[in-house]
Symmetry: C2
């Protein structure tokens, strides 16, 4: 597998990071452009907070973990200054989007803006001497926990009491976020949270009878036969599984690793499009029509996260099925998503694997899943495949 | 064109209405099932208010305009009883959805629930001796006008003042709704509203330089270079144009007819997929990537409304280009959307015209666009094509 490690490293440093270094910095107004067409031209100047926070994290993480390259730190601080100045309302909630100049466009209805801001500022606080970054990460994280029972606040359109469902997305993001910024937080808070999240995912959202992690369940974990209750997002499953594999490695929990790898293999078998290849975006666990019209599309992040998941699963268990899935995914992604000509990867393919939107970045795709995945794959595939030596792939 | 008229009439009465008569009535809890698979089996029992109101309208309209068939009136009143009992909050706003038993699921954030409730109760008030229906239509309509400056109320996520855009959907629906329920309303209110709406569509949302009606513009009608500002929905354009053609006929405004037909021809030429046929769902007026992942899909309502638009345009002008477009649309829709085997039409095709979701009804597709369109086509195509005699196709 080591030959792949070099490929992913080179892809990161030669084909992907240069794209963002060259095209995404808004020198005039601050922050990052993320709406970039195939060649890297800016086609929209709005600043979407998920992607601003994620890009701060990406360059800070590289600075922290790979090399103290000044241009990476500069890039991270460039975004941080913009977010620090314009990103929050008076209560410290992060807006969903700003216009180019930093004026708010969409209210803080979406807690993932806060999650990715905390992620970015947390990583940057390790890289930079500026003390304010750690404080922003900390207060944002506290605010997330405070808002976690009703993350949308006044914007929550669900009528209370009729069908109160728990959603998988926040525990999943927190499982990653709490590890990423643990140095900034109180150790006991992180430990308690991680324990709770592992329980939530494995005992509430994962359904052994169905073989998948559901996106929405009743508070007691029981199945809700509705559009929201039936939907399965295989990419979410596989991304969450590698977050939890990292936790299992840190906790030296071999049983959890075995359970997770079994689920990963079930999910990818279930989510794989037997006709055209690739992983479906959304599926209905009862086989009913889904409400998401984009259900059969092949998305970059789904496939990148699946690659990371299978690489980690193989590295931790030596299970040959994981290697085979990794290689199948590698072949599919490099053939369909990678853009040799202009750098970075395409984001959206139709079911047949043809490019559906030629963008490299947009409202939801930024400098995040592709470079993070390439970094993870470079590191993971470079490690020895040894079942007994699990601490090898801590990220 | 008269041969087509019979085809559409037969399709309505033999292939489409029987499907809804047979499968959609919830005898146990009231209201209608709309989530029906290809064969008509119920795959979800939630009650989405847009579709409940629209189905009441559909059967009431047939009763009013075609024949006093008791089963149609019964079907309409069956839905009305459910909505009357469960559909509104204490302020008279209509919920977005209820569960099967009528308990609210999603709050009244969406004013189109109110629009289609008013549409349904308005039509039913003409058919039924029950006086409460007219009162519901009237008070709902007043409430819509009251809410029209901020239809989403507390659920509005747009930050005020940075980029306040006007949206095309409400004026468009009101142009149809105000005509449909005019008997229930004050005549001067309707006349004033219609005048204002024609102005809004033709002078604010229609952009002669771009040749299309935009979905969102600045209050003064100027172009906003953002995802929302750039998006074009050709189906919306064509549906609005036939609503306005009806208005132009009533007002005997030959100039407006000519302008509308020109726009319709421009829009369908622009929206037509030259590679695979059919009309795109969303496009970007500057050719940038759209945010809607389903942009290239072929939707039933888009094509049904385009058929109605071209049939009316031809009937009113005798312009041969309209006839050619009608015939091209006829061929495409009957080949790809129609389901000879189980009745009704498919709703969602991929770009190539292959069925993407096998449902006949769901969260957004109910007993509305297909039967309404078939009724309109039956009537329109049966009328003489006479440029000078415009009042022929009043609906």
């Amino acid at each position: 597998m080591k030959k792949y490690s070099d490929m992913y490293r080179d892809e990161l440093f030669q084909n992907v990071l240069p794209f963002w270094m060259k095209h995404s910095k808004d020198e005039e107004c601050g922050g990052y452009f993320t709406c970039l067409d195939r060649q890297g031209n800016v086609f929209d100047t709005d600043k979407f907070m998920w992607l601003q926070g994620r890009q701060i994290w990406m360059f800070s993480m590289l600075y922290n973990n790979v090399e103290k390259r000044q241009e990476w730190l500069d890039m991270a601080e460039h975004g941080a200054r913009f977010l620090q100045q314009y990103g929050r309302d008076s209560q410290g909630n992060w807006y969903f989007s700003l216009n180019r100049e930093g004026k708010p466009l969409v209210q803080p209805y979406n807690i993932f803006s806060d999650c990715f801001a905390a992620l970015g500022f947390g990583a940057l606080s390790k890289a930079s001497a500026n003390n304010s970054y750690a404080e922003i990460a900390r207060s944002t994280f506290e605010n997330i926990l405070k808002r976690s029972s009703n993350t949308k606040g006044q914007y929550n359109k669900i009528y209370p009491g009729t069908r109160d469902l728990k959603n998988f997305a926040l525990p999943m993001i927190l499982s990653n976020l709490s590890q990423e910024i643990e140095d900034t937080l109180d150790r006991s808070v992180v430990d308690g949270l991680v324990k709770e999240i592992v329980h939530e995912v494995m005992d509430i959202f994962y359904r052994p009878d169905l073989g998948v992690i559901l996106e929405n369940v009743y508070p007691d974990g029981s199945f809700c036969d509705s559009f929201e209750g039936r939907v399965v997002n295989p990419g979410h499953n596989l991304e969450a599984i590698w977050f939890l594999l990292d936790i299992a490695v840190r906790q030296n929990d071999e049983m959890l690793i075995q359970r997770l790898v079994k689920i990963a293999l079930d999910v990818i078998e279930y989510g794989w499009d037997k006709q055209y290849g690739g992983i479906f975006y959304f599926m209905d666990v009862k086989g009913a029509p889904v409400q998401q019209l984009e259900w059969d599309q092949k998305l970059w992040w789904v496939h990148v996260e699946a690659l990371v998941c299978m690489a980690k699963a193989y590295q931790l268990t030596g299970d040959n099925r994981c290697k085979e899935w990794f290689e199948r995914l590698h072949e599919y992604t490099w053939k369909h998503f990678r853009d040799e000509q202009y750098g970075e990867w395409f984001g959206y393919l139709n079911r047949r694997g043809e490019v559906l939107l030629e963008l490299k970045g947009g409202k939801w795709k930024g400098c995040f899943h592709v470079p993070r995945g390439l970094y993870q794959l470079w590191q993971t595939l470079n490690a020895e495949v040894k079942v007994e030596k699990k601490e090898i792939i801590t990220t």
